[in-house]
């Protein structure tokens, strides 16, 4: 058997199984994240949330999915049909392929590659295409406005996100995600790099176009932004893509700042619990904050989003990068020095 796994076919089958082991729980997670969000927001706003379909409304995601599948996909007049159909696939596909490198436990990643964090950053920077293509292909003013807003916003926040990632890399001395988590055995990066942790999380909100930065959607001004013309499954893919991206950003935050699969309480009974459990728990905490922010904060004005990104986050992350590098150099704490 182990000989078979060394052949090309064996490796291909193994990789396929590993991918399924990531994708199936991810899709279930996306489905139940929508339920979780509605329940949490219901509780915050003193409502019940979904409670009719199944016990505690637990079958609600499936009811929604079935409803979406049986609806008609409508193409607007003058729309670019090919691009119109490809755009939601790009959004959803990118949110899924990024999971290839995320370690859910020690060395448990489909691909444990040397440049893991760069891969994640590259994939998340591609996410803007789904939105911008959708906005253009819809042949609609509102959709186009939403797409342009989102393009400018995502490109802006990627810059400070990049600097935050570089700072973490200086502390680790490796681009490998597994090494990044292992470097946090003694202290999670969220503690020494607290301001950057906050900046990363807020930029994550902006990257995923979530409230309070959901200007691309902006239903009060541009009805629903880039996906105003979408219906049925094409709409569902955008919807799922948004939630999959939320889980992805939470996983990135967990890996970079919250010690990944490492146990938060570093002694006996807690370290025996498998790392996957801690990893999922930390993701869940991040997701709760995502929902909490959405339920409590009003939407930003567009120029304020831009000035926050360029005039506040960028200088802070840049200065913190130089400070961290200087500190590590002076005290001789640079890894692989």
């Amino acid at each position: 058997m182990s000989v078979f796994l060394q052949t090309n076919l064996g490796i291909a089958i193994l990789t396929l199984l590993e991918s399924l082991a990531i994708i199936v729980p991810l899709l279930l997670g996306v489905a139940y994240l929508t339920w979780f969000e509605r329940k949490v927001m219901g509780a915050i706003q003193l409502r019940k949330g979904p409670n009719v379909v199944g016990p505690f409304g637990l079958w609600q995601p499936f009811a929604d999915a079935i409803k979406m599948m049986f609806k008609e996909t409508i193409f607007p007049t003058g729309a670019d049909k090919v691009l119109f159909t490809i755009a939601p696939m790009i959004t959803f596909g990118l949110a899924v392929v990024a999971w290839a490198v995320i370690p859910v436990n020690d060395h448990w990643a489909v691909a444990n590659i040397n440049v893991g964090i760069l891969y994640l950053f590259a994939i998340s920077s591609l996410g803007v295409y789904g939105i911008i293509i959708a906005g253009w292909a819809s042949n609609s003013k509102y959709a186009f406005l939403g797409a342009l807003r989102s393009a400018a916003q995502m490109v802006s926040y990627e810059v400070s996100m990049g600097f935050v990632i570089v700072t973490v890399l200086i502390c680790v001395g490796s681009l490998n995600l597994n090494d990044i988590v292992l470097a946090q055995r003694h202290i999670w990066f969220a503690i020494p790099l607290l301001p950057l942790f906050v900046i990363f999380f807020i930029s994550g909100l902006a990257e995923t176009n979530r409230a309070p930065f959901d200007l691309a959607e902006g239903e009060t001004e541009i009805v629903a932004g880039f996906f105003v013309e979408y219906s049925a499954m094409t709409f569902a893919l955008f919807f799922l893509g948004e939630y999959a991206n939320m889980i992805l950003i939470s996983a990135m935050t967990t890996t970079l700042f919250l010690g990944g699969w490492l146990s938060p309480i570093p002694f006996a009974p807690f370290t025996l619990i498998p790392g996957v459990f801690w990893f999922l728990l930390k993701i869940l905490v991040c997701l709760f904050v995502f929902v909490w922010v959405r339920a409590t904060l009003p939407r930003f004005r567009y120029d304020q989003i831009m000035s926050l990104g360029w005039k506040v986050f960028l200088p802070i992350s840049l200065v913190w990068l130089v400070l961290t590098a200087g500190f590590l150099e002076i005290f001789g704490m640079l890894p692989h020095a």
Partner: protein, 211 residues
């Protein structure tokens, strides 16, 4: 074997999308094919073992530069029939550039050496025991530091130039000062008036507006 197949696949898509960039009637399609070409070039870098370059190509060119291309092309109302009018006039120059590029590539591929000293520097293999990014970093920040710094300065100058060219100081525009806004208290902006029923109340004079 798989690597060869993948190489063929990525090269075919790369060449095909490159051809489509030039021939597409719709400029937005052309830019999207350009992006596809970039991504396949990154995949070819990966096959060649240059993982860092592949990721940087995707992050910088696809994630930022091409987005701005797309942004501009979508906003412009480009009429390609008008643009094509100068085609015959500029064709000789274009052909010349293409010829030069072709000769250079041909010289490189056939292995003929113009400068013998360059052969040693070319195809510097990455050592096995360190990663691609480490090898690149230890070269850039030691032997090639002046060149690296210089390219940074060139980019900075280009950025300042772009800002100077496009920045207009709109004196008439209303500007907001966030700190002043945050420092405002309800007492400065809000006046509670209890009006008698049916009598109405005089509008209180607004205080001097501090934006």
């Amino acid at each position: 074997m798989i690597q060869n197949l993948l190489f063929d696949l990525f090269s075919f898509i790369l060449l095909g999308s490159a051809a489509m960039v030039v021939t597409s009637r719709n400029p937005v399609h052309a830019v999207l094919f350009l992006i596809l070409a970039f991504i396949n070039a990154a995949a070819l870098f990966l096959l060649a073992g240059a993982e860092f370059l592949a990721m940087v190509l995707v992050i910088v060119y696809v994630g930022a530069v091409a987005v701005l291309f797309l942004f501009v092309v979508m906003m412009l109302d480009v009429n390609f029939a008008v643009l094509r009018e100068g085609f015959q006039r500029y064709a000789p120059i274009g052909a010349l550039v293409a010829l030069i590029l072709f000769v250079e590539l041909a010289l490189f591929v056939t292995g003929s050496t113009v400068a013998p000293g360059a052969a040693a520097a070319r195809l510097f293999p990455t050592p096995d025991n360190i990663t691609n990014s480490q090898a690149l970093g230890s070269l850039i920040y030691t032997n090639y530091l002046p060149l690296f710094q210089l390219s940074g300065v060139i980019l900075l100058v280009a950025m300042i130039g772009a800002i100077v060219l496009t920045h207009r100081d709109r004196k008439r525009a209303k500007r907001q000062n966030l700190d002043v806004q945050h420092a405002r208290l309800p007492a400065e902006t809000l006046t509670m008036v209890s009006a008698k029923l049916g009598a109405g109340a005089a509008m209180p004079q607004p205080k001097k507006e501090t934006l």
